[in-house]
């Protein structure tokens, strides 16, 4: 496939969009670099330089007939995970690597994936199930599980409401854990026989950046050191905010007892 100068620019722009989406769906840095390189080569790029860290993508393409072109993009990724879009992006990249789609069609597919979010009911019931199950998993009774499930629902709703306000992750974690911690504290104070620790442990699993931390360490072990360090620091700060909110809640609840 031979591309005109204008098409080359459009391809480059589309690729940055693709990388942005991949990072925001939870793909690892090395995977994003690999995907972008494969796709652009499929479209006929002779020379590809792509550099990805969790906050920026920089890409330079050179086609056999022209000057190299470069574009960079600042990424605002909150470390979220979205299997729904990730799978579609993966399918798109597979298709393009076998038989490059015409550029307008590729762009259309990308925009469609960007607009489609994971279904809310699944996320809601996923939160309920995860919170409840992990409370039981960490040694809680069935009743603890049910209370944790209810607070899992609350956390999910807060994530949707506060997600619209574009609050940064630290402030968000502090606020959500404070509200959840107070709620769980009062509930366990009013209803006897419930265990506050296991309920909170279950609900922590919904917020804990355990996967971000794991991915960060993985990045460092495979050589993406910059991304690893950035992500590790970020997620440790997020975890500290998480712990901070719960700690304040525990202190307040402790004073009331």
């Amino acid at each position: 496939m031979t591309l005109t100068k204008e098409e080359q620019n459009r391809l480059l722009h589309g690729m940055l969009e693709m990388g942005d989406l991949l990072l925001n769906c939870g793909a690892e840095v090395s995977r994003v670099e690999d995907t972008l390189e494969r796709m652009t080569r499929a479209y006929g790029a002779e020379h590809v330089e792509v550099f990805v860290i969790t906050s920026i993508i920089s890409m330079t393409l050179a086609f056999p007939d022209g000057e190299p072109i470069t574009e960079t993009r600042r990424i605002h990724s909150g470390g979220g995970t979205d299997f729904f879009r990730l799978e579609k992006l993966n399918a798109l990249s597979r298709e393009c690597c076998i038989e490059p789609l015409p550029l307008p069609e590729m762009r259309q597919r990308l925009d469609k994936i960007a607009a489609g979010h994971k279904p809310f009911p699944a996320v809601f019931w996923g939160s309920v199930l995860t919170g409840g199950c992990f409370a039981v998993f960490f040694g809680g009774s069935v009743w603890d599980g049910l209370v944790a499930a209810a607070f899992g629902a609350l956390i999910c709703l807060m994530q949707v409401w506060l997600g619209r306000t574009k609050l940064n992750t630290v402030a968000f974690n502090l606020l959500v854990t404070l509200i959840t911690g107070l709620g769980v504290g009062f509930t366990t104070a009013v209803i006897p026989g419930l265990h506050m620790d296991t309920i909170i442990m279950g609900d922590i699993m919904l917020l804990i950046p355990g996967l971000a931390i794991t991915n960060a360490v993985r990045n460092m072990l495979v050589g993406d050191t910059i991304s690893g360090v950035v992500r590790l620091l970020e997620s440790l700060i997020w975890a500290a905010a998480l712990a901070g909110g719960f700690m304040v809640a525990l202190v307040i609840v402790g004073l009331l007892h």
Binding site: G126, I204, L211, T214
Partner: protein, 143 residues
């Protein structure tokens, strides 16, 4: 014994919950839940033979990633889709809670012990995943 069955059941539905939470398509939900129960079963098995928690976590993570890689080949998806539900039961949520709970009560000795445990656990999971991923990359580069 009863505890083990309850934990495995909870790991199964917990894995399912996480897969739902991250927007997994319904056809992949069952393998994702199995990933959760598999990693926890391996962890419990390792825990019975060794006292080193780091090792148990590492082996459990490695086995879960091998499973995820096979699933990903079969279903033609990125492996991450099955890696994450498999890792979740290993994520040290209870240690993190205990760390801050002891810190709030001023028992810094216990808080430090749990804090170390939390970090070591995260490191073990990451090492387990990276080990398998590195082997897979070696294999694909040979082709």
């Amino acid at each position: 014994m009863k505890d083990i069955v309850i934990q495995l059941l909870a790991a199964f539905f917990g894995g399912l919950g996480v897969a739902l939470l991250f927007g997994m398509r319904s056809r992949h939900l069952l393998p994702a839940a199995i990933a959760g129960v598999l990693s926890w079963a391996v962890y419990l098995g390792m825990d019975a033979v060794t006292d080193v928690e780091f090792l148990s976590c590492l082996v459990a993570a490695a086995v879960a990633v091998i499973y995820a890689e096979f699933m990903a080949r079969w279903r033609k998806t990125p492996a991450t889709l099955f890696v994450i539900p498999g890792m979740v039961p290993l994520v040290p949520g209870s240690s993190l809670y205990n760390t801050m709970s002891y810190a709030v009560r001023g028992e810094m000795e216990a808080a430090r012990a749990y804090g170390t445990k939390t970090l070591l656990c995260a490191l073990a999971i990451a090492a387990g995943i990276s080990f398998v991923t590195a082997l897979r990359e070696l294999q694909t580069k040979k082709q």
